[in-house]
């Protein structure tokens, strides 16, 4: 589907009400209005690029429920003592001062698609001509029997960064030699496919550094296989021999329940005990996308592969984790890349800007142990209505220490780059 240009849009309206020569928003106010819900790598990037590249022709409002943003990416490195919490937390001040974006701190609670307004928790409403939904994910607590929002205060998921991440770090640092960690990994699709396994590596790094020899890390996974499995398995055997035990459903036979007070994870095979439980439930698009009615039965938003426009509502774009982006994994890199495609198409919708064919890219780096970095990635293009991977690449088992170090250093450069691109 091609995006409607501003001119076509005007003509369509004109055809419906013959006296109307201009789009409604141009009569009602000076500038078309773009509202973005969610200030992560998806939302903050789209807000920035629409504001910056339209040079004041479009009014941009960015709604996020926090004053600052802590990235999930590199939050595992924070757990492993490679980064501080401050170094993964960022402010929106630059976006407001450099590009004139209206930053609203608050929670969007509903979208009226008829009236084209967003209502915030404080009762105020914000009108839009184009709405971008970039709310990320919500965890489905009851996908794990025995788990809940309250239970997450004892057994953190830490799959949204912030207080949960700090709680997990506190619990990790309190583990004593001989005590175990049990992770329940999530089913597909979920945010950051290699994320749980990078986290396991960082858990192991911390225990190893303290000289622990008796502790174990059990991973109870609902999946038969996982991202970069050969690389992680090789790395765990090399750096943390005997410490990590990963079990897929063919061995554990299925997760039955968790008891966070007792510190147990019961599977069909046996009960696993841990002083620290890290429960990562199944996921779906952030609630606002579901409330707005732009998601499918599974809770994810279908989009047009060439523009990131919702296939359900022409005035809405959905980017980042909340969208169904074909072959692209749910990652910060993907969200940032999708944001740029959406920004261009929104500008073409609302101004005379020209939209170009969509091109996306992603790389997911993971750190297994100090200077042992690996990566997987691809370029993507729309093909037959789906975002399709071209030129995929992945690190190989047995690579030299120099190459792994280079890969890790590349990831550090990427982190500074994406933060700059998103928030500055």
């Amino acid at each position: 589907m091609n995006g409607l240009t501003r001119r076509q849009f005007g003509l369509l309206l004109g055809a419906g009400a013959s006296t109307l020569a201009m789009p409604a928003y141009l009569r009602a106010q000076d500038k078309p209005r773009v509202v973005v819900i969610g200030g992560g790598p998806g939302g903050a990037t789209v807000a920035k690029y629409v504001a910056k590249d339209s040079a004041g022709a479009i009014d941009v409002t960015l709604i996020n429920d926090g004053e600052t943003f802590t990235t999930c990416f590199f939050s595992n490195l924070y757990l492993g003592d490679f980064r501080t919490f401050e170094s993964i937390t960022h402010s929106y001040d630059q976006l407001a001062s450099a590009y004139g974006i209206n930053k609203v701190t608050g929670r969007a609670v509903s979208v009226d698609r008829e009236a084209k307004t967003v209502t915030l928790a404080d009762g105020s409403t914000v009108p839009y001509d184009r709405l971008v939904l970039a709310p990320g994910i919500d965890v489905i607590y009851d996908s794990v029997p025995g788990y809940s929002e309250e239970a997450a205060e004892i057994a953190p998921h830490a799959w949204k960064a912030g207080a949960q991440t700090q709680l997990l770090k506190e619990k990790l640092d309190a583990v004593e030699d001989g005590q175990n960690i049990v992770m329940v990994a999530p089913p597909n699709p979920y945010r950051c496919p290699p994320g749980p396994y990078e986290r396991v590596s960082m858990f192991a790094h911390v225990l190893k550094k303290k000289g622990f020899t008796q502790s174990k890390i059990f991973v109870i996974d609902p999946k038969e296989t996982f991202s970069k499995q050969a690389l992680f398995t090789e790395g765990w055997e090399k750096h943390y021999p005997g410490m990590v035990e990963w079990y897929g459903p063919d061995v554990h036979g299925g997760l039955k329940s968790v008891d966070v007070a007792a510190g147990t994870v019961e599977t069909d095979l046996d009960t696993f005990e841990g002083a620290l439980l890290n429960i990562i439930p199944a996921q779906r698009a952030g609630a606002i996308a579901i409330d707005a009615g732009v998601t499918n039965e599974a809770g994810w938003a279908p989009i047009d592969a060439g523009s990131m426009r919702s296939t359900i509502d022409e005035a809405i774009y959905v980017i980042g984790d909340a969208s169904i982006a074909g072959d692209m994994p749910k990652s910060g890199f993907s969200a940032n890349s999708q944001a740029k495609v959406a920004a261009l198409n929104i500008r073409a919708d609302l101004t005379d800007a020209q939209a170009f064919p969509a091109r996306y890219s992603n790389t997911c780096w993971s750190l297994i142990e100090t200077d042992d970095g690996v990566k997987v990635g691809a370029q993507y293009e729309p093909q037959d209505g789906k975002i399709t991977a071209l030129d995929a690449f992945v690190s190989q088992p047995g690579e030299s220490a120099e190459l792994r170090k280079e890969t890790y250093e590349e990831s550090i450069g990427w982190y500074s780059g994406i933060i700059e691109d998103t928030f500055a």
């Binding site: 174990k216 055997e237 005997g242 079990y247 061995v251 069909d268 095979l269």
Partner: protein, 107 residues
């Protein structure tokens, strides 16, 4: 790190039914081929045999090779003929023997 067995046997079965038995042991299975950071070979230490007996009679047994990956897992079916006890035994290169027992009621 000590080895730890985890076994799953149905608690009940009907006579003649094939019951599925699953047995896992946490064990590093050190192959004897790996070197430590100083370049010295790490001595071989694996689980070399696994056996399962029912009411004292062997029903399944297996020799393991150094190439088998850590935490060996077995799954096999046994025909339930009478109530009784399964005994599982893992023999370690270092002479240790790990055992587990599970009862089944057959009606």
């Amino acid at each position: 790190m000590s080895a730890r067995p985890r076994v799953r046997v149905p608690e009940t079965a009907t006579k003649g039914e094939a019951v599925l038995i699953r047995a896992l042991i946490s064990h590093q299975m050190e192959s004897g081929q790996r070197r430590d950071n100083a370049g010295n070979l790490i001595p071989r230490r694996i689980i070399n045999t696994f056996t399962c007996a029912f009411n004292g009679h062997p029903v399944f047994s297996c020799d393991l090779a150094p190439a088998i990956s850590a935490n060996p897992y077995f799954e096999f079916s046994v025909k339930a003929t009478e109530s009784g006890t399964f005994t599982f035994t893992w023999a370690d290169d270092d002479g240790s023997v790990y055992m587990d027992e599970q009862r089944i009621e057959v009606s």
